[in-house]
Symmetry: C2
Subunit: 424 residues, 2 copies
């Protein structure tokens, strides 16, 4: 079992051979979040010699909010979390890596229930206060006995720290551990927000999923927390794409322990949480873009800003159309500022645009304006920008004031290698 | 200039080095279509030493129908064709390769008008009876003077044959010429249907487009022809995908010269054209699947059949979700019957399915049924099927009777090579 001690010794994962070239320099120093403890363990669900289960235990009175995959083939743990979310109360979270418990029929549903019941027995709470998330192979029933057997040891090992170990325990094909933290204040009291995530592609090869968990000691009522999380997800996790494929297991859960001691917040627009709202959004964008930076085969991180759309939602659709276009992504891989492909991707998005007011810039340099190439366009500075690891594409579609920012990565030979040979 | 003579000498294009391994053995022998003549020429719009313009002249009384890209950045020729289609009358078709006349603003619109006016002057018809289609580079105004100067020579060279030369003249990055033909009868009179197409990917690198032209000597009124073409397009061109990218120039035009001499058909459901309807559908599926077989980097041709959906439209959405999934396409490239990725792609389509009745087979062998892996699944025969050049995936989603067939190709290193290095 790994506990908080691991935090000091393993923060150089991003420098490991095989880590994405776009990985952050290090895992952040994460402060404790009052009102919760965590532990990881090796249950041997699929992997050898590594932790693959995370247990987080929350004090009574903790609120929970969640956003899940819209897949019609959602995995059993997703169905469970959706079902118990209504109460808004959480005492425990159990996450395993190695088996997604997706496309496993009734056996999969039973496995989730067994896990929740066993954890609830140890924690002394109701089973519907235990959230469960899984990531890994699709179509194999999980070895739930091993998971259940690991729970008492996990409970004995609970500690206030161990965030990087937690991020590692939930990883599958990730090349680096993903964490983010912010501290802020509510009513003058310090509040922490810690988040961990896993995912390398919307869905890694077989190893389904993007999972993200955010923890804070703020006191936010469940309905308000749900609204805050949905708003932040719309501008973070719902604005990233690696390959346009959507997992059966995508799960984002946020927990608020209320241990910070300020008066509870019931209104998501409450001005007391203006700074908290910004910090929460930053944590979620940080985690979401780390998933993109670990995109399979990614060599370049692409930020796409869309303006002038009919609405923010329309801008997001246009941005994702550009971000999901294999032709745009291969052009970036080839360091080619091929704006014809950007025009194509804008056109196929289906949202209203003004062809004759369309403007495109790359790296801050205008390449097209007023519906045609910029007169006297100098490819030099744009070509230099394209050679870097961070590529910026900005588009204005000329019909309104809707804006969105979307993040993706390039499409390279390594993506093919990883995905065409995964099981061989 | 190349005329009908070329037909006998150049039919081994598919054996050329660099041709897709999925190309048909040869260009088909195409009979004349009474009531029309064609010619090709080298106008030098972009290419050297090859024909790049096609002129087709139709007898007075010819009907026309069309289906176009839904792109919001549709090219100038597409806007022109849409505008003049309402009359349903056609006397001429001018197609050029090398310049897409897309994202060219008002200059692009003027270029199309100049072309139509010049051709109309030579043919002695109204300009709005001359259809124009372009394919090639986006964002450069076409050298319309060269195109117009080529028209008199094209007119002098008109002949009843020359279909393969026509298919070559409209090609850009295609690795083989695409044609299809059927002969049938209406009221006992022989009727020909000839089609040519170009496209290698929904959009080839910069070289926008899928173009397809179908010609028949049947006598079909414009409204009936439009309906027949839309129905056939829904089951052919709208069921193929290479990379999910949609061109600015996609154009399908069908012309009916009425020269076959039977009584005109006004009702698309008229039982006199039952055989014609089938033959038209076959020509369009043949052309559409040839485009897929020339998909950039394609090594395997994939047929995806979806059944049990709520409607045919829902089945098509599910089929295209599978066909567009980079993870499914790379799995096929890797000869891996990775049905977990198929489950994922079905789930993300958003159409209603029954998770616990979902069934998947590959090459006719069941791999999943009743929402889980098939008990005692033997990977051997499936693995052998995956090694072939033709891969068949069948899915039943268990909620209704909607069906669809969708065609695509695998995603390989060659796709990345072609698209990441096109302009370098």
């Amino acid at each position: 079992m790994t506990t908080g001690l691991a935090m000091q010794t393993a923060s150089d994962v991003s420098a490991k051979p095989g880590a994405s070239p776009l990985a952050p320099a290090r895992f952040p120093e994460m402060p404790p979040v009052r009102g919760l403890r965590l532990a990881t363990a090796a249950a041997g669900l699929r992997y050898r010699d590594r932790d693959d289960v995370l247990l987080v235990v929350l004090e009574p009175g903790s609120a929970v909010a969640g956003v899940f995959t819209r897949s019609q083939t959602a995995a059993a743990p997703v169905l469970w979390c959706r079902q118990i979310l209504g109460e808004g109360q959480a005492r425990g979270l159990v996450v395993n890596a190695g088996n997604a418990n997706a496309f496993t029929g009734a056996a999969g549903d039973r496995a989730v229930q067994q896990t929740a019941v066993a954890a609830a027995g140890i924690l002394g709470c109701a089973a519907d206060q235990v959230f469960v998330a899984s990531t890994g192979v699709i179509g194999e029933a999980p070895a739930v006995d091993r998971l259940v057997r690991a729970l008492p040891g996990l409970h004995n090992g609970l500690a206030a720290g161990g965030w990087e170990a937690a991020a590692r325990a939930i990883a599958t094909t990730d090349t680096f551990a993903k964490g983010s933290t912010r501290t802020t204040e509510i009513e003058g009291r310090p509040v922490s927000i810690n988040g961990i995530a896993k995912g390398a592609g919307m869905i890694a090869p077989d190893m389904a999923t993007m999972l993200a968990f955010v923890f804070t000691d703020a006191a936010i009522a469940p309905a308000a927390l749900q609204r805050l999380v949905e708003d932040a997800a719309a501008r973070s996790f719902n604005c990233i794409t690696v390959d346009g494929d959507t997992s059966t297991n995508d799960t984002l859960l946020a927990f608020a322990t209320a241990a910070a001691g300020h008066a509870p917040v019931h209104d998501p627009a409450d001005p007391r949480i203006d700074a908290f709202r910004v910090a929460l959004g930053e944590v979620m964008v940080d985690l979401a873009t780390q998933v993109v930076r670990d995109g399979e085969g990614a060599r370049k991180f692409i930020t796409i800003t869309v303006g002038g759309a009919e609405s923010d939602a329309a801008a997001r659709v246009i941005g994702l159309s550009i971000a999901n276009s294999p032709l745009v992504k291969t052009a970036v891989a080839g360091e080619d500022a091929n704006w014809g492909r950007i025009v194509m991707a804008i056109g196929k998005a289906g949202e209203r645009i003004d062809r004759d007011r369309l403007a495109i810039s790359v790296g801050g340099f205008a390449v097209a304006a007023d519906g045609g190439p910029v007169p006297g366009y100098d490819e030099g500075p744009v070509a230099r920008h394209m050679k870097g690891a961070e590529v910026e594409i900005a588009v204005d579609v000329g019909v309104g004031s809707g804006v969105a920012t979307v993040w993706t990565c390039d499409l390279t030979h390594d993506y093919i290698d990883i995905n065409a040979s995964y099981r061989s």
